[in-house]
């Protein structure tokens, strides 16, 4: 598998290198329009060249997919919390922890929006929260409750003993009164022809 990945990486670099070289050569007038036209014409010369061109295209698509997978896989591997059990390893994606925190935020009525970012390091787990609040809430009480709840629930649900730090950043406060007024206004809108009645 590693060999295939290395081969895919090599081809990916080679193709980009070649494409870059062609562009530079074209810009420096080393390669003319006629040359490129000849190559393109050659690609559609007969059935054999068409098959080769098509196969090369399909191969490049496969290489691109494997490279994308490699990159995404690497990111995924980095962003996990792992621990060992008797049967094997359990890894929990930080994305999963973020999903959990997002759901926990829904328990607080004063929170309009909550965006968590979880960072795992040797020191422990750091949870950074970006919160949008409604104006009629006590910020110290709400943030304190939120921090406590997230800390406890994450510790309980993940079963980890490492230190969990919860940092809250209030990004915006939405005026609750204004929102309510807007709601009332929209309710007051009467449908057209509402004054008429059937006789």
């Amino acid at each position: 598998m590693r060999f295939i990945t290395a081969l895919a990486l090599f081809f990916y670099t080679f193709v980009f290198f070649l494409f870059g070289g062609v562009l530079i050569a074209f810009a420096l007038d080393v390669l003319g329009v006629q040359n490129i036209y000849k190559v393109v014409e050659l690609m559609q010369l007969n059935m054999n060249t068409k098959i080769i061109t098509g196969a090369a295209g399909a191969f490049l698509i496969l290489v691109s997919i494997s490279i994308a997978q490699l990159i995404l896989g690497r990111f995924e591997k980095e962003k996990t919390i792992a621990f060992n059990t008797a049967t094997g390893q359990v890894t929990i994606a930080l994305q999963a922890v973020e999903d959990l925190i997002r759901r926990l935020g829904q328990h607080f009525s004063g929170i309009k929006e909550l965006r968590p970012n979880v960072i795992a390091s040797k020191k422990g787990v750091e949870v950074n929260l970006r919160v949008i609040l409604q104006s009629e809430v006590s910020i110290p009480d709400l943030t304190s409750n939120l921090q406590d709840m997230i800390k406890t629930r994450v510790q309980e649900l993940l079963g980890i003993e490492e230190q969990i730090t919860v940092k809250v950043h209030i990004a915006k406060i939405i005026s609750y009164g204004e929102k309510r007024k807007k709601g009332e206004t929209s309710e007051e809108i009467t449908p057209p022809y509402s004054g008429y009645s059937r006789k």
């Binding site: 995924e76 059990t85 094997g88 390893q89 359990v90 999903d99 959990l100 759901r103």
Partner: protein, 117 residues
Amino acid sequence: MEKEESRTDLGAVRIHKDVIASIASLASLEIEGVKKIGGDLKANIYELLGRKEKRGIKVEIDRNDEVRLDVPLVVGYGFNVTDVARNVQENIQQSLEKMTNLTIKEINVNVQRIEKE
């Protein structure tokens, strides 16, 4: 190696990796709290092609015929992730040992997401 092979008096019995993956998948879904089996891009392509048994679970068999499994999971919200992962590991081990007599080296569970039930 694609298949796990054991010999009897009458001949060889081969168990395909997909069968091991299917058993692991079913054993995982039996556990309360497991919403579905997760997966990567390749697994999603397999699912689109109708090969759901290939979804996400990776099976490796080493030279000593020991099996190593990587199981990606999506866990339901409100369940203890660690307990669910441990239960999945145990249930897969029991199911595989019961159905195939294979030696299990490792069952690695990867909780990818948490979704609402």
